[in-house]
Amino acid sequence: MEAFAHLVNELNAADQKAANAASSAGFAYGLAAIGPGIGIGYLVGKSVEAMARQPEAAGMVRTTMFLGIAFTEALALIGFVVFILIGL
């Protein structure tokens, strides 16, 4: 407890700002990862379903799946860049 009190006392304005930046960076990346996570899961699941249903179309489905993953993943990566920019 004494150590924490010491820490709190030591926090000056710059440290406060850095702490805020770090936590908001975490939020930025975490929130940005939710949507693409769901999206990629859904996309790959559906692709596997399609490949299982029609194995002869697997090549085409796989190509399209990678394209879809690339588009979906971009959102998470933008979140990651924001994380880098404000957090580190």
Binding site: V81, I84, L85, L88
Partner: protein, 186 residues
């Protein structure tokens, strides 16, 4: 504790980057492109892509195409050879079949000739047998008729004599014969 932190800062990253020590300057952000890196990478990629486009790729592709063409033509010639071999096999099989048919026909002809001869011989033998049988039957019939005639005349004599003895006069031969015939026929 402090020494541990310092040690950490001189960590694997430093070991790993033995070739180039990292800078301590932190003016630009981590996502700002550096001009010197940009120049070198542009130069490198442009040279690579142009060499690829006008020299390396066409050369490689020409070799690949030539080989694929070779493989394709070899495939085609192999196919042609295979089909000609198939035709030869079919030809051979047709000949074999023709010869087999010929042989079968000859065998069949010989067999039918033999059969005909056999039939003829059989008929001849049968005819001979039946002629002999007919002759024998005719002989037997003649014998039987002769015997019957003898019996007839003997019975007629006996009957005539018996009638003469009974009536004192001789019945006419016609009547006796007639009666005997009737009796014998009964």
């Amino acid at each position: 504790m402090h020494s541990a932190v310092v040690h950490l800062h001189g960590s694997l990253v430093h070991l790993v980057s033995a070739a180039a020590e990292e800078t301590v300057s932190k003016d630009p952000g981590p996502i700002v492109p550096e001009l010197k890196e940009l120049y070198w990478s542009i130069g490198s990629f442009v040279v690579f892509a142009l060499l690829m486009r006008f020299w390396l790729f066409p050369k490689l592709k020409k070799g690949m195409d030539a080989r694929y063409e070779g493989i394709r033509s070899a495939h085609e010639s192999a196919d042609a050879e295979r089909s000609s071999a198939r035709a030869e096999v079919a030809d051979y099989e047709a000949q074999v079949a023709a010869i087999k048919a010929e042989a079968a026909r000859e065998v069949e002809a010989a067999r039918s000739t033999l059969e005909a001869e056999r039939q003829a011989k059989l008929a001849e033998v049968n005819a001979k047998l039946s002629a002999q049988r007919a002759a024998a039957a005719a002989d037997a019939q003649a014998e039987r008729d002769a015997a019957r005639d003898q019996i007839h005349s003997a019975v007629a004599d006996v009957a005539g004599l018996a009638g003469e003895l009974a009536t004192g006069r001789r019945p006419s031969a016609d009547v006796v014969t007639k009666v005997v015939s009737e009796v014998m026929a009964r």
